[in-house]
Symmetry: C2
Subunit: 230 residues, 2 copies
DNA sequence: CCTTGTTGCGCACACTGTACGCACGGAAGA
DNA sequence: TCTTCCGTGCGTACAGTGTGCGCAACAAGG
């Protein structure tokens, strides 16, 4: 093996020696799906402001700027992550007659659960809008519209009805997500937090059940108001 | 006047000459209110990510780090700005009997208008929660609760009712704000945007009127659902 | 073997938030 | 009037950030 390190020629490129050369055993292929998946993992674990291209790159065993071959920039990456999360939703089939209400309620519950699973998504929805244009978001949006159409809402009104429901669900889920993030940053669990804040509030039940009940209350009121239009 | 610039001692501090010395004609006093006001101005004009301490400092004729004497950090500054904006709300007095619905609707309209005036606030509400703890936010929160109490909701339920209304209003205003920010970034007006996207949609009226109608529709549905509980 | 396109990555730039400590101006005390 | 002290503005510095640019290594195809 040639001892190139001592060759006089090497003075021209003094930085890299043959031995310290990266060597690059095999070039692992990066893909957009892989990047988005890792980004969601990191977002779930540490929140939106902890997502940096460098950190994500090293987590994927790659350099920071390599990601830019597959993703235009950080904002686009987050948009992709948002739409990917929308893909988790399982929508019930549209059903008319007495069944529409259960289907819509199920969709709303799914949506709330999605936001609570990925709390970082809430501020993002406020920046990009509920009319998110990714394929998964569109799928969910048209699915909800179909449910309202099957319920019997006239063509002009079903958009308004769906918008009303979406606004309520996103609004309350956003509030819950922010509240939970605040607690998470304090390092306590939700029950400890509530107990420390108001010691004799344990009588009303576990806080997560209370939140769920409050969500259900508002959902029923919104559905009552909508049902009265039929 | 002593000619300190020529003193041999001055070799120790070679950088500043007496003539280039800042001279600092008078020390303008910075105040927290002033800083928050300028921050809101900048946020309204350029959005949340354009707010940097350096930019804000120079806009106030001060150095970037001077702000830290009055404000703990950037996040706290934004929280202060949020609460300051809450202070713009004019709440109607709580009214019972047939009047509660108009009062609540007026509060909701004020809240939506506030978000539309300051679109940057929407993602912030998603991060800090609707249960914002600033004095102005608390004032508005208790005011709304009083309206529901005057309406005749029992003690346990008025919180849920107020939460439902808040969730709907914040949700839809957030969506609108995001949509308007998106348009604003494109440089067009809302009407141009809508016309370019769907040329024959002019028949339905001006887009801002449509948005207002949609907001009113959902608000009426929510209020219907709540009124049915009385 | 050579060419050609694709992709990872090192470097560099402009910019961020903010800790630290100095220096100045006014107020308070001697 | 002189000294001391404290509040506050600011310069400097550091560790980050997103991302444009160009090179280098590979895969495929001729």
């Amino acid at each position: 093996m040639r001892y190139r390190g001592r060759m006089p020629d090497d003075a021209a490129k003094p930085i890299t020696s043959v031995w310290t050369r990266p060597h690059r055993p095999q070039r692992e292929q990066l893909s957009r799906e892989q990047i988005v998946a890792a980004a969601i993992e990191l977002l779930d674990a540490e929140g939106v402001e902890a997502l940096s291209m460098r950190k994500l790159g090293t987590r994927l065993g790659a350099g920071a700027t390599s990601l830019y071959r597959h993703v235009a920039n950080r904002d686009e990456l987050i948009q992709l992550a948002v739409d990917d999360v929308y893909g988790e939703l399982k929508l019930p089939a549209a059903a008319g007659r007495g069944k529409w209400r259960a289907a819509v309620a199920r969709t709303a519950t799914e949506l709330r659960a999605m936001v609570l699973r990925h709390p970082w998504i809430a501020p993002e929805l406020g920046q990009v809008g509920l009319v998110h244009v990714g394929p998964n978001a569109v799928r969910m949006s048209t699915g909800l519209l179909a449910q309202f159409e099957a319920a019997g809402f006239p063509t002009g009104e079903k958009d308004q009805a769906a918008g009303t429901l979406m606004a309520y669900v996103i609004g309350i889920a956003t509030a819950e997500a922010a509240y939970l993030s605040l607690i998470a940053r304090s390092g306590k669990t939700e029950r400890e937090w509530v107990a420390d804040l108001d010691p004799d509030s344990g009588k009303a039940g576990h806080p997560e059940q209370i939140r769920e009940k409050d969500f259900r209350y508002g959902l029923d009121r919104v559905l009552d108001g909508l049902a009265a239009r039929l």
